[in-house]
């Protein structure tokens, strides 16, 4: 057995990533093909190195991954009062790097947390663990279940930017194409992602891309200021201003 367990055990991390892939294969319907079986064969490799606790934890994670598809398991609207204290413990565990503990607490209370919030909290834990593709899926699930929640949309885009920058750029373009309809903080995040992407483009394209960001950013600042949200979150205004400055410098 490996001396290091869970996220300190490279075999555990490798298995988690393959398990995530396998759940994707099941959803997409190719897990019973030769390719799917080859993936399962690779998952056999680290088995001998796992402790019983690690195996139990991986079964729990697999059950969590099941929740990424199909209808939400419950129609609960608010977090049950008696679960709140434990959820604070989960957040605390996440902050201290006890990701397994945090996920277990959520699992224990899964039936008393709204499905979107549960997906959001799970996504945050995976984000903190640095497992961005898994985080992005949970956060997208949260956003899909509650499409009007701008915070969910923001964090889902952020995680996607970490896991799949090209796909995030596509989403960012779609958001900017309808920027007046989207929350200003989401427009800002989309602009941020496209500005990052623009750096690897040929210089004339970079300028064109950055130039296209200035107008939606200005609109977002205006909306943040007029709604009063800019006073509540001055960091958003500062970031938007900084981004506009950076775009203008590049555009010349």
């Amino acid at each position: 057995m490996n001396e290091r367990q869970f996220f300190q055990n490279p075999d555990f991390v490798a298995y988690v990533r393959m398990l995530h892939q396998l759940h994707g294969a099941i959803r997409e319907g190719w897990d019973e093909t030769d390719k799917g079986e080859a993936l399962r064969d690779r998952m056999d490799e680290p088995w001998h190195n796992f402790s019983g606790d690690e195996v139990a934890s991986l079964s729990g994670i697999s059950a969590d991954l099941d929740s990424l598809s199909g209808p939400p398991a419950s129609d609960i609207r608010t977090i049950a009062a008696d679960a709140k204290a434990d959820l604070d413990s989960a957040l605390e565990a996440r902050k201290t790097g006890d990701f397994i503990g945090a996920l277990e607490i959520l699992r224990k209370h899964a039936g008393r947390i709204p499905a979107a919030s549960l997906a959001y909290l799970r996504g945050q834990i995976w984000l903190e663990a640095g497992e961005y593709p898994i985080a992005a899926e949970f956060l997208q699930r949260a956003s899909d279940l509650e499409p009007d929640n701008s915070n969910f949309r923001y964090i889902a885009l952020h995680a996607l930017g970490k896991s799949d920058p090209l796909k995030a750029a596509d989403q960012a373009r779609a958001i900017l194409a309808e920027s007046p309809r989207n929350p200003p903080e989401l427009v800002l995040k989309a602009a941020d992602i496209l500005a990052d992407q623009a750096r690897i483009l040929p210089s004339d394209q970079t300028r064109r891309e950055l130039k296209s960001l200035i107008r939606p950013l200005q609109d977002s600042i205006f909306r943040l200021e007029t709604s009063g949200e800019g006073q509540v979150h001055p960091d958003l205004l500062i970031r938007a201003d900084g981004l506009i400055d950076a775009c203008r410098r590049q555009v010349g």
Binding site: D31, G36, R40, D44
Partner: protein, 136 residues
Amino acid sequence: MKQADDGLPVVGTASRELGVRVPPDPNADVDLDEGGGVILNGKGMSVVANWRNLLPHLVPKRLRPVFPGAAGSNRLACFRLGEGSFIPGSLNDRLSLMLKDHDTRSGNIVPAEPMSQGELQDALAATRAEWLVDDT
């Protein structure tokens, strides 16, 4: 393990079959000496006390209602051998069960005496009819 058309485990030397993988397979279940004999060092065919102790990719998806997270192929089945407790000891005159050091819920079916890899495969294959599907 993979389930054959007759409902019993598939015998073989690949993953999830009734048998052991041998060197040079990088995931060999046993070590061999220079003469091709199985080294008696506790290695063998992996088994667990209960199918719920298996990794999720080994539990067939159809068991999701009773085992959320099951992600194994539906061509697999969970099999049980015998009725006894999951404790170290003799399974028959050629095979024994040894528990793993780090986890008493998992172990290996190992040769009870020195034998070649072929003899071990035969000994395992000879148990085929004794494995019963256990999805409970």
